[in-house]
């Protein structure tokens, strides 16, 4: 690790390789080796090695999160979504993973799926502000006709999300300008005939 701090990655990697020859499944050393790659910005190697690591240690949720973040930085949303799917399977009651998965689906343009996952996340934690905003955005983007049941459901959800967010800002006594900013956002995102 001292070599790592001095950025002498070659020497550091040699030492790690020798330790791994004796014990192939030393998780700590495997991780240090991964970090060397990341520090040198060798992203392709890093991703490949991290995938190999996860084949050995499938329950390491931090590693899955790290892989997800790396894929997001490379804008590979499909693979990032896969990582989060693994995490959701492991921790189905974690509202953060549901909400982040919904964020990725939204970024990919799959608003239906995003809406579903925002709703799961809000069922688990109705105070998740990102999910509330996400719900507002997805219902506004799902431009279905008002007359269908789905359309009217979207409108109701949109309105509900808006009320929850307004309540949050009022609860913390935000000043007028901030509330105005939020309201102008609502005007842009409200659907239905009664736009304020």
């Amino acid at each position: 690790m001292r070599y790592e701090a001095k950025e002498d990655y070659h020497s550091a990697l040699e030492i790690y390789e020798s330790i791994l020859e004796e014990d192939e499944t030393n998780a700590h050393v495997l991780k240090r080796r991964l970090v060397c790659l990341k520090a040198q910005n060798r992203i392709n190697d890093y991703v490949r090695e991290l995938n190999e690591y996860l084949k050995l240690f499938q329950a390491d949720h931090e590693a899955w999160l790290e892989l997800c973040d790396t894929y997001l930085n490379e804008m590979d949303f499909a693979k990032a979504a896969f990582c989060l799917e693994e995490l959701i399977l492991m921790y189905p009651h974690n509202h953060v993973y549901q909400q982040r998965y919904a964020d990725i689906k939204y970024t990919q343009g799959q608003f239906d799926l995003a809406k579903t996952y925002y709703l799961y996340s809000l069922k688990l934690n109705p105070n998740n502000v990102r999910s509330l905003y996400g719900l507002l955005l997805t219902t506004a983007n799902l431009k279905s006709s008002q007359k269908t049941k789905e359309g009217s459901d979207n409108t109701k959800l949109n309105l509900w999300a808006r009320e929850q967010i307004e309540k949050k800002y009022n609860d913390v006594d935000s000043d007028k300008n901030l509330i105005d900013s939020v309201n102008s956002l609502f005007q842009y995102l409200t659907i239905g005939k009664n736009e304020k």
Binding site: K38, D103, I104, V182
Partner: protein, 201 residues
């Protein structure tokens, strides 16, 4: 040839944002007053995120609210800054490029400030970032014009660091986690002005 200058407030907030999250990438939006001539002065900045930069929903909400804040205060969004977590990365990547493009679509000017991590030392007396803008070939290139900083900027940053003020800055990520935290950092703006007057010689 355009000239860019950056005010004390904008630079200090950028600096504090980086100081608060030294192990993560950070980014934020730069605001300036609209000007008819070809110079741009960044007067304020809004720190945005320190994680998950490529996700659309939070970004859309943030830009929408910042737009409205700009209208209330007569400012325009004129650029953004990004600091990579990797020490050696100093060129804009795909994400920076897309963001710069998006900002340019909605406004005339779009500058991309990439922080050079080797220059963030508080005793440094040159700007800690490189400025990129779109050239004629639609690629991000280093900005050839002049970059001016307001006098006393570096001293203010040093003082703020000494007094550990970086814990006071709130970015949009903090705001989304806890609505009480004001991404406009109005209280911090006052603090910075107070420090400015103390360090004025």
């Amino acid at each position: 040839m355009k000239e860019i200058s950056i005010g004390k407030l904008a630079y200090s907030k950028l600096f504090l944002h980086l100081a608060k999250y030294p192990q993560l990438s950070c980014n934020g939006i730069l605001l300036s007053k609209p000007s008819k001539n070809s110079s741009v002065k960044f007067v304020d900045c809004v720190p945005l995120f320190h994680s998950s930069f490529t996700l659309a929903p939070a970004f859309e909400i943030a830009l929408s609210q910042i737009d409205s804040y700009c209208q209330q205060n007569g400012l325009v969004i004129s650029g953004f800054y990004h600091a990579f977590d990797n020490n050696n990365q100093t060129e804009p990547n795909m994400m920076c490029y897309k963001l710069a493009e998006k900002l340019k679509e909605n406004g005339d000017v779009s500058f991309c400030l990439i922080v050079d991590n080797s220059k963030i030392n508080p005793s440094n007396r040159e700007p800690c970032f490189n400025v990129y803008s779109f050239g004629d070939d639609q690629k991000l290139k280093k900005f050839p014009g002049n970059l001016n900083l307001e006098e006393g900027t570096y001293e203010t940053c040093e003082k703020l660091l000494e007094e550990n003020r970086f814990s006071l800055i709130n970015d949009f990520d903090n705001h989304l986690d806890d609505v009480k935290k004001d991404w406009r950092n109005l209280k911090l703006n006052e603090n910075i002005s107070a420090v400015e007057s103390l360090s004025a010689k």
